[in-house]
Amino acid sequence: MGEAIVITSGKGGVGKTTTTANVGTALAMIGKKVALVDTDIGLRNLDLVLGLENRIVYDLVDVIEGRARLEQALVKDKRFEERLVLLPAAQIKDKTAVQPEQMAALVHELVARFDFVLLDSPAGIEQGFQNAISGATQAIVVTTPEVSAIRDADRVIGLLEKNGLGRAKLIINRLRLQMVKRMEQVSVDEIVHILGVDLLGVVPDDEIVIKMTNEGTPTVVDTRSKAALAYRNIARRMLGESVPLLKLEEKQGVFNKVLKMFGMS
């Protein structure tokens, strides 16, 4: 019996889909069986981020309306020995094609077969959001260090609490340390203080995320970038490991690296 975790934010464009893809991939890399569910019906894009678009045959609405079995609709990612699967959203229907009870039943079925079921929620707090949270037992709220995103995250956390998903976890995405240092961006401490929830991780702003997302490869497979490391750490924390937050300020030059090699720094 696995866990069903909804990934939501309220505001659009903060990185829900990217986070879902990367955290899911990271969990699969560790060896967990992971199902990613795109609940953004009518605006599907989790398949693009994962590079699985070409392999979609059936979608979520097909399963709910009985045109396909769940097994047929799951798209397996061959990169991870089929530990990672995607249940894509329908593109030609809209949010009203699915009712929360149907979604809950579907998620229940997935939870029995996977260690983690990550539900990528659409932006907003309407029917699509209600669908996405209906089967979830836990929630991850994604925000960026902007007042608008934080305000929406606050609203969403309130709604999650009302729907029995208290103790949501927080991921702060696209942090730009230089801007925080110049007091131009809200700091991590400030965000955690306002929202009053546990911090699951901080993902630094990194151009490579955009580049790799466009290529259809989750960033997390790239071992060099800090964002990838941040996603892996998030996955490890979800498994109960205590991993310290990334030290983002460390900007190591070649000289410092050499010094470190000789144990002089």
């Binding site: 305000r151 606050d154 609203r155 956390i157 309130g158 609490e161 306002i194 929202l195």
Partner: protein
């Protein structure tokens, strides 16, 4: 009932006059008898500064209109001012309203954006009010935490306070008055706001123990310099 059977006792003390009005006769008879009494022997009430009057209705149930008619009758017959109405009988709804006003609603946690806490009495919040959150109370609001959203107290015009451990509301008000700016020197500090003489005062929390004298003091001191419609914090040396 004959007029002379209506019992109206008027007692004088250092604080003024107390009218004890017969609770058993018909109300019209009472008015009539009262008028007769006032027309009669009390010429010396007619001049000079107003004498304070307390009305005692005893076990008679009176409506607001009836109180007003007695008040009007007394005040037009001399230099008299009704300052208090004492009655033993209240309507059930009135009593329920009074009890509601005296109730304390305790909330634990964060009042988040889009959430509203409403109360018919006072509110005690163990937690924060985030931007976009709102507390609306007929009584006072006490916050053991940060006030970053809106707080509106005394919304029906009852006397009220807003007290917060960390005072930085986007909007705060008591009764009809509301402001959207906290004085710089108290922003984010432990502070409270009170309504006094039709103005909102923001004061440091430590001056709360000196209420209501502190309000007299600051109202007096800053009468001349206060700009209209802006919150301000008097400098206090308490």
């Amino acid at each position: 009932m004959a007029l002379q059977d209506v019992q109206i006792v008027i007692k004088g003390s250092r604080d003024g006059l107390s009218f004890f009005l017969d609770p058993h006769c018909r109300f019209d008879d009472l008015l009539f008898a009262l008028e007769a009494r006032l027309m009669g022997a009390y010429d010396h009430f007619l001049q000079g500064p107003p004498t304070e009057v307390r009305l005692h209705f005893g076990t008679r149930y009176v409506t607001e209109e009836q109180v007003d008619s007695v008040r009007a009758l007394i005040e037009q017959h001399g230099s008299l001012k009704v300052i208090d109405v004492i009655r033993d009988v209240f309507d059930k709804q009135e009593v329920e309203a009074m009890l509601r006003r005296r109730s304390l609603k305790t909330e634990v946690g964060i009042v988040r954006s889009g959430q509203v806490v409403e109360a018919t009495g006072d509110v005690l919040l163990l937690g924060d009010v985030n931007p976009g959150g709102l507390i609306r109370a007929k009584g006072s609001i006490y916050i053991f935490g940060q006030l970053r959203g809106q707080a509106l107290a005394g919304v029906d015009g009852d006397p009220a306070l807003i007290v917060a451990h960390d005072f930085q509301p986007t909007r705060f008000g008591i009764g009809r008055l509301a402001l959207d700016e906290v004085p710089q020197e108290l922003y984010g500090k432990a502070a409270f706001t009170a309504l006094y003489q039709d103005r909102l005062f923001v004061l440091p929390l430590k001056s709360l123990r000196a209420l209501p004298f502190v309000l007299d003091e600051v109202a007096e001191e800053h009468r001349a310099i206060e700009p209209k419609g802006q919150a301000w914090a008097p400098k206090l040396s308490l």
